[in-house]
Point group: D2
Chain length 349, copies 4
C-alpha cells in the first residue's frame, strides 16, 4: 500500500529485461550506438515528428531545465503556474540552466488560464528593458494536482503564447497518464496543439530513469546536445538509458502502464463514495489525486501499512478524528486493484 | 578487439545482478532508501572516512563539476593540467557549475608539477582583485595520458596547495586503476595524501553509470546535495544507482576489475617489444596507453577488426606504412588475454 | 513640472563641484586613492559602523545585486515583496549576480508583513532539498509605492529572518527619504534594527550616479570587492565616483536634500484636499506618491507641461474626464514649492 | 612623473565641461534623452556605421564582457591571447557575462597569430560535443604589451575567424592610440578589416569613465541593451555618461588626445638611446611601453618622484644596480614633454 509517489515502484519487467539485453559486448559511447539511434527513432515515430530533436536524460528536472534553456534567453521570464514542479520542486534547476526567472501565474486546479497568462505577458512587456522579458510558457500535464488540461485548454494557452511570439513547453513527467486520460495521441497533445518542446517522462511510469527531451524545431538540436553535455548529463554508457526508452515506446507499453495507473487511481476516486467525510480536492484525471479524508481514516490506513503524504506532514500528531486532512495518493503501473481495495477499506474503517 | 575506451564494454554481471535485485517492491525515492544508505556506508568504509559526505551521480563530468563547485568560489581559478578532462572533455561543466575558470598548468605526461603549480598560484596572487583568485587544484589519477601520480607526487601537489590555503580534488574516473597501479588504499591515495575531494569513478570500471562524489569535509555535504539537485542530478529511483555502487565496493570488486584491466594493458605494453617500430609515448601505469605504431600495423589491426582512436583521426587515409601514428589503447575489466594477443599479432603482421 | 522620477533632475551643485575638484593631477586607480578612502570613512561614520565593508558602484540595481549575492547562495530563494524593485525593475540582475531566485511576498502598500514572510520561509523549508532554500530577505525603504516601514516594522521583519537564521538587506535607493520620514539615524534604520546589508542610494537624491553597498559583517568585504570587479563595476578612475559620495555624506547634505524632496511631496499630498476627486492610493511618507486623479485633471496638467507616469500609460487616450486615473508623482531635491503649486493648480482646474 | 597607467590622470577639461553643461534642468532617464541620442549618433558617424548598435558603459571590463556575451554562446570558447586583458585583468567578467570560457593563444608581443588561432580552432572542433565549441575571437589594439596589430594583421585574424564562421571582437581600451599609431580611421581598423564588435574606450584616454560598445550587426542591439541592464550597467542619469562620449567624438578630440599620448611615449622610447643598459622589451607603437632599465636607474627615477610598475613589483628591494629590471611606462593625454625629459634624465643619472 505504497501510494507516496509513482517513483517508489519497481521498473516494469520488460524495461528491466531490455537493460539486461543490451549488456552484451561493446558499443560506442555517448549515444553513438545503435540502441540510441533506434530509441530516438521510436520517440520520433511516437510523436509523428520525424525531424524532431530528441535526446535522453535520466531525470525529469533536467529534462525540463534543458528544454526551457533551449527556449529561453537568460533575461527572460518563464511563465508557469504558481505551484509548477519547475518552480517548487527542482531547486531552481530551470533557472540555473537557462538563466531565466520564473513568473508565476495563478489558476484553479494547478492550471494556467489563458487570461492570466495573457495578463502576465502584457505586464512583462510594459516594463520594457527594466523587467524580465516575456519568454517561454510551461505547463504540466497531468498537472501537479492531478488535473488534466484538455486539448482545447492547451490550444488556448499556446494560442496566447504564439500571439505574443512565445514558445510553449509541456512538462510531461506524467505525459502518458495525460494521453491516457484524454484519449489522444502524443502528437495531438503536443505539436498539433501548438506545443514546441516536451519533457516526455518515463521514470514515473515504469522506467528506471529516462526522460526524452523532444524539441519540434530540429534547429535546436545541437544546442540541446551541448547544454546536456555541459550539464554533465551525457551518459557515456548510453545504451542502458536508451534501451529503456526504446522498450517504453515499443508496442504502446508507455500507454498501457499509464492506463493501468490511471485505472487504479480512478478506483480510489470511485471508492471515495463509501468513505464518510472524504472528498476530492481537485478533479482527478490521471494517476494522482489530492483527497480530503478524516484524520481517523488516515490513522487506520497508516496502521494498516499504507504510505502516502499528508499536508501538513505532521497532521496525525494531534487533532480530532473527524477533521479532514488532505493527502496525496499516487498510483503507478504496478498497483493492484486489491491494494486499492485495502486502502479504501482502511479508510472506511 | 574494441579498445576505444573503457566505457564501451559491458557492465560486470555482479553489478547488473544487483540492479535487478533491487527491482523488487517499493522504496522511498531521492536516496531515502536502504540501498542508498548502505552504498554510502560502503564508500565511507572503503575510504576509511566515516564522516565524509558521499553522494552518487551518473556521470564523471558532473562528479568533477560538483566536487569543484563545492571547493571553488565563482571568481576563482581552478588549477588543472593543460589537457585535463575537466578542461578538454566536459564542455565546460566545471565552469558552469562553479562559475570559476580553469588555469592551465603544464607538465610532462599529463602530470601537474608542484613547481609549475606554485608558480601559477603566485602569478594569480600577484593580480590582486583584477584576476581570477587562487582556487582549488585538481589532478587526475590515472592521468589522461595513462600515467600515474605516485603518492609522493600527490603529496607534493597537495602540499603546495595547502601552503597557499587551497584545496585539492582528485578526478578519479580511473581511481581504481590508480590504486591498483600504486598498490595503495583509497585512503592513502586521497585524504592521507592531502586530497580534500574525490570523484570516485565506477562507470569506466564495470558499472552501468555511477560515480561517488566524496568530500572529506562533512560540512560540505549539504551544499553537495543542493548543487546536485539544482543540476538535475538527483535520481528519483535512486536505488538503481546506489545498488551499482554498493556492489562495486563489495568484496573489492572495484579493485579486482581494475587489476584485470591494468593487467591486460600491461600485456599490450609488454608485447610492444615484438612490434617493429612501436613505442610507448608515455609511461603506462594503468589501463590505458598512448602508443606510436607504424601506419601499416594499424591498417592490419583495423582490418582484423580492432577499434581504437588514432591521432589525428584520419591518419590512415594516406601516408607511408612505416611512419608512426599515435593511438590510444584502453582496456576494461572484460578484455581477455586472447584479444590482446590478437591485437599484438595484427600489429606484428 | 517634471515629476516622472527622482532620477530626471540635476546633480546638486555641491556634488558637481566635488567632481570638478578631484580633477586635478594624478591618483592611483581602482579605489586606491585618498578620495575613496575618505568617502568610505564618511559612510562608516554616517552608519556608526567603523568596521563595515563599504564599496561604491554607479547604479542602484547593481548595489542590490551585489549585496544580495554576498548574502545568498545560488540555490537560495530571496524573499521580497511582489512588486519589489529587485523583482520588477532590474531585469533579473539580482538573480544573475547571486544565482538565487526571488520568492514573492504579498503585503499592502508594498510592504512585506512579518506573518507573510514567516509563512513563505516555512513553506520553503518544507520542501527540503527539492525547492529553493530559505535565503536572505530584502525590503525597500521608502517602498516602491511611496510608503515607509517604521523602525518597529523593520525590526519585526528582521526578527522573523533571524529566527530562521536568515539575513536581511535594505534596498535604500531612497534611503535618505526614509530617514527623513522617520526622523531616525542611518544606524537606527539598519544594523540597530537588525539589517545586515544596505544599498545606500545617492543617485536618486542629488548625485550623478553613486551608491554605497554597506555590509555590516566586515568578513564579507573581500567577496564584495571581487563580485564588483567580476561584474565589471570597479571604476578605474574611481575618485570621480568617491567624490560624490564624500560630499553627499558631508554636513548632512544627503539628509537635507531628502528633506527638501519629502517636503515638496508633502505639499502635493496636502494640496490634494483641494483637487476634486483626487485620492492618495497609498500613505505617502517620502518623496513619491501614487495618486488617483480624474482624467480631466491629468489632461490639464499635461497641457500645462507636467510630466509624470500614468497607469496604464495610455490612460489619456480615451475615457471620461471624471474617471480617476492613477499617477505617480516623484519629487527630488530640486523641486520648488512654486512648481508644486502649478501642478496642483492645473489639477484643480 | 606618474606613468603607472593612463587611468591615473585627469579628465580632459573639455570632457569635464560637457559633464557640467548637461547638469541643467531635467532629462528622461536610462538613455532616453537627447544627449544620449546625439552621442550614439556621433559614435556611428565616427565608425561610418549608421546602423550599428551602440551603448555606453562606464568600464572597459564590462564593455568587453557585454560585447563578447553578445557574440558567444555559454558553451563556447573565446579565443584570446594568453595575456589578454579579458583573461588576466577582469576577474572573469567575460566568463561571467557570457558563460563561455577563454582559450588561450600564444604569440610574440601579445599578438595572436593567425596560425596559432587556426590551430586552436581546429583543435576545438576535433573535440565534438565534449569540449568547448569554437566561439568568438578577441584581440586587443594597442595590445597589452604596447604593440600594435597592423590592418593586415587584423584582416588575417578576422579572415581565419570568418573561415570558421566565427566573429571577432576588438578590445579597444586604447582604440584611439591604435588609430593614431596606424594612421587609419575607426572604420578601417574595425568593420572594414572584418571586426564584428568593438569596445571603444574613452576612460583611459581623457574621459571620466565611458566606453562605447559597438556591434556592427544591428540585430544584436536589443540583446546588448538587455545584457547591460541585467548586469546593472544601465545608468539612470545617463546624460552624464553620454556627454563624455559626445565630446570625446567631437572634433577628433579622441584622436588628438591619443596622438599626444603616443607622442610622449615615443619621446620616452627615443630617449632610451641615451640610457645606458636600457632596452625596449616589445616594439612600442602607442602610449605604453615595456622597457628593461637597470635597477640603479629605476632607483634614481623613483627617488626623483617617478611612479610606474616594475616586474616583479619588489624588484628594487635587493639586487645589483646594473641588472635590468622590466618596467611599464604609460602616457596619457596630459603628459608633458618636460616630464618625459625628467624621467629620462633620472634614468640617465
Amino acid at each position: 500500500m505504497m501510494f507516496a509517489s509513482d517513483n517508489t515502484g519497481p521498473v516494469h519487467p520488460a524495461i528491466m529485461a531490455s537493460v539486461m539485453a543490451v549488456n552484451d559486448g561493446y558499443a560506442m559511447p555517448y549515444g553513438n550506438d545503435a540502441v540510441t539511434r533506434d530509441a530516438r527513432a521510436a520517440v520520433r515515430t511516437l510523436f509523428e515528428a520525424p525531424d524532431a530533436a530528441v535526446e535522453f536524460v535520466a531525470t525529469g528536472s533536467v529534462a525540463n531545465a534543458l528544454a526551457l534553456a533551449c527556449l529561453a534567453k537568460p533575461w527572460d521570464g518563464v511563465f508557469c503556474h504558481r505551484i509548477a514542479h519547475v518552480e517548487e520542486d527542482e531547486c531552481g534547476a530551470p533557472d540555473f540552466y537557462s538563466g531565466a526567472k520564473t513568473i508565476l501565474i495563478d489558476g484553479a486546479d494547478a492550471k494556467v488560464t489563458p487570461e492570466a497568462l495573457d495578463e502576465a505577458i502584457l505586464e512583462c512587456k510594459d516594463r520594457g528593458v527594466h523587467g524580465a522579458q516575456p519568454g517561454p510558457v510551461t505547463i504540466t500535464n497531468i498537472t501537479e494536482r492531478g488535473t488534466v488540461y484538455s486539448l482545447d485548454e492547451i490550444r488556448a494557452i499556446t494560442g496566447v503564447a504564439r500571439a505574443h511570439g512565445l514558445a510553449t513547453h509541456l512538462d510531461g513527467a506524467r505525459f502518458a497518464n495525460a494521453c491516457a486520460a484524454l484519449g489522444c495521441t502524443p502528437a495531438e497533445m503536443t505539436w498539433k496543439a501548438g506545443i514546441d518542446a516536451v519533457s516526455f517522462g518515463g521514470t514515473k511510469n515504469g522506467c528506471m530513469g529516462v526522460e526524452a527531451v523532444v524539441l519540434f524545431d530540429p534547429a535546436k538540436g545541437r544546442e540541446l546536445e551541448l547544454r546536456r553535455k555541459r550539464g554533465g548529463h551525457l551518459f557515456s554508457k548510453h545504451r542502458y538509458l536508451s534501451a529503456q526508452m526504446a522498450t517504453y515506446c515499443d508496442g504502446d507499453l508507455w500507454l498501457r502502464m499509464a492506463e493501468a495507473a490511471n485505472a487504479r487511481l480512478a478506483q480510489v476516486v470511485q471508492g471515495l463514495a463509501r468513505v464518510p467525510g472524504a472528498e476530492l480536492a481537485h478533479p482527478a484525471a490521471g494517476n494522482l489525486a489530492f483527497i480530503d479524508v478524516p484524520r481517523g481514516a488516515h490513522r487506520r490506513a497508516f496502521e494498516a501499512g499504507a504510505k502516502y503524504y499528508l499536508f501538513p506532514g505532521n497532521a496525525l500528531e494531534a487533532g480530532p478524528d473527524d477533521q479532514p486532512v488532505r493527502c496525496r495518493i499516487v498510483c503507478d503501473w504496478s498497483k493492484t486493484s486489491e491494494e486499492i481495495g485495502r486502502l479504501l477499506d482502511a479508510w472506511v474503517g
